[in-house]
């Protein structure tokens, strides 16, 4: 038989003013299982709490009902109090006598009746609770950052500087991401490489950071503090312990391939470094285009390599390590506008380029050494049309959202063009100009003063006549149709999530929104966490951002990781789902419905009818389960139950209430 102690609170006159607490206490004494009832002026005060503790010990109480304010207010307080007594902290029920009774009713008689019911319900429920124990989860003091762009690098540096080991997984051959492709950064116009490459080498040389370039996450299991991650390091065909990065191999390689880093505007060799300042500063062999690896003929790079670092027999390497926290800094790519905008030629015209291609054109280390020359004939364009919101804010063809950075970088592109081609004309077609940010609007106004012609409207068609690209559009401010004969058109295309993020997110059970961006746990209050505990977001993986915002979020994610890694152990929430394996049929409905991927179906051996049988049953991962209880309702057999809110205890509450 349970020994229930009921502790009712006056809360000064807050409760006692409308509820006859003594009458409630009198009723409580008659309830089955109740051995002790006490009223107190302020139960939550130190003397009040002391009184509860003493009563528990003196009366041999094994479960407790308190009747004060809302459990949302003080439930943790009561749990903490019980932790100091022989009573299990989860053998507790709080009757909300203040927020949901005394404060909302005026008639004392009615409020007292209701308070009695609330106490009855609480007593009924607490009698059905069972002691729960939170388990301690060890925390592996090591973080994994997925993605080596500016957000990933910043996160890694911040975590590493705090003294924890970090691994960066980058699927390209070098760190740097998109930022290192850019020429200059708005609004200060510092050279992107000048501020990005030092970060890259800092990351590369940091004693706490391991960079795994040309690598991808293969699989993952586990939970917060204990993610077991297998990383596939793709075959580089070069022994990095021997390679000095001299580059002799690159100059001799006979195989020429389209250069992705230069946005397809130049060629690279099959053995290549992504760009000169790459980190790690060593090449890889692109197996698909290497003559030696494809046809078994060539081997020039091995001949010229002074250190014998070339290894054509290299294979993918799999390594598995345990990490305490994971940060997604997987970044973005530009939307593939070609199939979406046939009216812009759909890729038919080489001189209709994207913003990123323009960045490479204007970059001193780019294919044209910084001279703005149009791809078709290497002539300097004398008039350029810039079209904003290509794929952004266009739910019919592209995405409904605003890509956030394009207003500023299109202003930058106009500025750079007018700077390099002083006699050129630049037209910018826009829907709105959005420049919230320090120094942003000033930058935009300067571009306008430089002579960029801003036209409010969209371009409906681009076609070629002679060697001109005719852009037809509307100036909605004057309601005039406008036609611009341009030499080159720059499309400022929308940001979309990086390739492969769908599979990666599914591996980690991180949610994605309708557009594919990773979803934060709360849009306002938990913007860098995900719904999976221990996994965080940095940069454009979460949605379009510019560089300052990405870096900010990277720092925020890092501080969350540092906070987690600082702990030696985590205490798990014991109010989670539990499986009754005798009833479980293993059909997996619960596993399908679980938003955290906390339930898996495993084959287990049982002894049934004096026979050994192996059958599937559900298994709850205590590190992932958050205790929502959705699985309990899906389970028809009732094999799933939620600790702290068990089916029986809720039914008892309902019954207690119906007896009123």
């Amino acid at each position: 038989m349970s020994r229930i102690g009921v502790f009712l609170c006056y809360c000064g006159s807050n409760i006692a003013g409308t509820v006859d607490v003594e009458a409630v206490a009198e009723m409580a004494r008659t309830l089955p299982g109740v051995v002790y009832v006490e009223t107190n002026k302020y139960t939550c005060s130190d003397p009040g709490q002391e009184g509860v503790k003493n009563a528990i010990i003196e009366k041999g109480i094994d479960r407790v009902v308190v009747g004060p304010c809302s459990p949302r207010m003080h439930e943790p307080t009561w749990r903490k109090l019980l932790a100091d007594t022989p009573v299990n902290p989860y053998m507790l029920e709080v009757a909300n006598l203040r927020e949901q009774c005394s404060w909302v009713h005026k008639d004392k008689a009615i409020a007292t009746e209701k308070a009695k019911d609330l106490v009855k319900m609480a007593v009924a429920k607490v009698a059905r609770l069972s002691p729960l124990h939170s388990t301690e989860i060890p925390v592996h003091k090591k973080a994994l950052v997925i993605g080596g762009g500016i957000a990933g690098m910043q996160t890694a540096l911040d975590i590493a500087d705090a003294g924890f080991k970090v691994t960066i997984v980058e699927r390209e051959t070098s760190l740097g991401g998109k930022m290192v492709m850019l020429d200059k950064t708005f609004p200060t116009m510092d050279c992107s490489a000048c501020i990005c490459t030092p970060k890259m080498s800092e990351v590369g040389n940091h004693p706490n950071i391991t960079v795994k370039s040309y690598s991808e996450v293969e699989s993952v299991s586990g939970y917060i503090g204990n993610f077991e991650v297998t990383i596939r390091e793709k075959a580089k065909y070069i022994d990095y312990t021997k390679c000095t990065g001299c580059g002799a191999c690159e100059t001799k390689c006979p195989s020429k391939v389209i250069n992705e880093f230069e946005q397809g505007m130049s060629k690279r060799t099959a053995i290549y470094k992504m760009f000169p300042q790459a980190v790690p500063s060593k090449p890889v062999i692109d197996a698909e285009h290497c003559r030696m690896l494809q046809e078994g003929k060539c081997g020039v790079c091995a001949k010229v390599c002074p250190t014998g670092a070339i290894n054509y027999q290299d294979e993918d390497k799999l390594t598995t390590e345990t990490y305490g926290a994971i940060v997604f800094a997987t970044g973005y790519k530009l939307i593939d506008w070609k199939p979406l905008y046939p009216e812009y030629g759909g890729g038919k015209y080489p001189d209709v380029i994207t913003g990123l291609q323009f960045e490479r054109l204007v970059n001193a280390s780019g294919p044209t050494e910084g001279h703005i020359l149009r791809p078709s004939d290497n002539k300097e364009p004398k008039s350029v049309v810039i079209i904003k919101c290509v794929g952004s804010r266009d739910p019919n063809k592209g995405k409904a959202y605003c890509s956030r950075a394009c207003c500023m970088y299109s202003a930058k592109h106009a500025h750079q063009y007018l700077d390099k081609v002083p006699d050129g004309r630049c037209y910018v077609f826009y829907m709105d100009v959005r420049t919230p940010g320090k120094g942003y609007d000033e930058f935009y106004m300067n571009t306008v003063h430089d002579g960029a012609q801003y036209l409010r409207g969209r371009v409906s068609k681009i076609y070629k006549e002679g060697d001109k690209l005719i852009c037809k559009g509307e100036d909605t401010l004057t309601s005039q149709q406008v036609t611009v004969a341009a030499d080159m058109v720059v499309l400022e295309t929308a940001m979309v999530p990086a390739d492969g993020i769908d599979e990666l997110a599914a591996k980690f059970t991180v949610g994605r929104d309708a557009d594919g961006w990773l979803v934060e746990a709360h849009a306002k209050l938990r913007p860098v966490e995900t719904n999976t505990a221990g996994i965080y977001l940095a940069g454009t993986a979460q949605g379009p951002k510019d560089i300052p915002d990405s870096v900010c979020q990277a720092g925020a994610a890092a501080s969350k990781v540092i906070g987690l890694l600082n702990k030696d152990k985590l205490e798990s929430n014991p109010q989670i789902s539990r499986v009754n394996e005798a009833l479980c049929q293993g059909d997996g409905a619960c596993a399908n419905i679980c938003p955290y991927g906390a339930i898996s179906i495993v084959e287990k051996q049982f002894r049934e009818n004096s026979r050994k049988v192996t059958r599937p049953v559900a298994q709850v991962n205590p590190g992932l389960c958050q205790g929502c209880g959705a699985c309990t309702v899906t389970c028809r057999a009732g094999a799933m139950d939620l600790m702290g809110y068990t089916n029986e205890s809720i039914m008892r509450e309902v019954d207690a209430l119906c007896q009123w």
Partner: protein
């Protein structure tokens, strides 16, 4: 060769070859035109198998009883095959656990009245949907015009009439659980009504507890019900149980899109264990 002859021949061959361990079909019962399900393990018994227009019982659920002996062969009509699909989709059995001899079904008759069975007049898929081989040809059968006609009849009553109607049903129910035992959706290792759980469904036989059982049964099977009508046929009190099942199915059809359960083997979640962001919103 008649379907019955093919079934006998195939059962014999399959058992003799050792491909299956047991074969489930029907045998002639004690009374005129009566048949009962038959499980044979010996090829010599194949001659006992019958197939005629009085094979009322659905066979699929017997698979779960005899599966421990090895692969099961059985005769499947439309309803049996959907029941097998149901069991596979609920991961109770695997496709390779069963060898299905399909047979076209023209609809079965009540042995006493010689009238078509209610469940067969309402049936929309009389020919097997999943099978390994067919014994004979598919059969023609009229498909009912309105799948939910009987639901609409009830809906036409006033609320008070409906209360009384269903309370009289629950008053008649003797809680024999025949409807559950025969249902291919009811495959829990231990049904909630059999479990000893305090404050859950009571064991008394009264209207309230019977209502608890009845409503819970519908909520448990509604989104997976294959509309075989077996629950209704086996009910010793002749309770119109399909009026409840079909109500839920009708609402799901209206709200979440057309569906019929148990038509194809798939891992798709059932209607109530999934959702769409665009589901109708009526609780704002």
């Amino acid at each position: 060769m008649s379907a019955q002859e093919i079934i006998r021949a195939r059962a014999k061959e399959l058992l003799e070859s050792g491909e299956i361990a047991t074969f489930i079909g029907w045998e002639a019962g004690r009374f005129t035109n009566q048949t009962t399900p038959l499980v044979i393990t010996d090829a010599a018994d194949a001659g006992k198998l019958v197939f005629n227009e009085y094979c009322a019982n659905t066979l699929a659920k017997y698979v779960t009883d005899v599966l421990a002996r090895g692969k099961v062969g059985l005769v499947v009509r439309g309803c049996d095959s959907r029941a097998i699909v149901r069991l596979i989709n609920d991961k109770v059995i695997k496709r390779e656990d069963v060898y299905l001899v399909g047979v076209g079904c023209p609809g079965m008759k009540d042995r006493k009245t010689d009238e078509p069975l209610k469940k067969c007049t309402e049936c929309r898929h009389n020919n097997p949907l999943v099978f390994d081989e067919m014994a004979g040809e598919n059969a023609e059968k009229a498909v009912p015009e309105d799948r939910f006609a009987e639901v609409k009849e009830v809906e036409a009553m006033t609320a008070a009439e409906r209360t009384r109607y269903f309370e009289s049903i629950y008053a008649k129910c003797i809680r024999c659980y025949a409807c559950r035992d025969v249902c291919p959706c009811c495959t829990c290792r231990e049904c909630f009504v059999d479990q000893r759980r305090e404050n859950w469904v009571g064991k008394q036989n009264n209207v309230a507890e019977n209502r608890f059982y009845g409503l819970t049964r519908v909520m448990h099977i509604g989104d997976r019900c294959i509309e075989c009508g077996e629950c209704e046929r086996v009910c010793p009190m002749d309770l119109p149980l399909m009026k409840l099942n079909r109500k839920v199915i009708q609402d799901m059809n209206d709200l979440f899109g057309e569906f019929e359960s148990g038509l194809v083997i798939s891992a798709e979640p059932s209607v109530l264990t999934t959702y769409e962001l665009t589901d109708r919103e009526e609780f704002m």
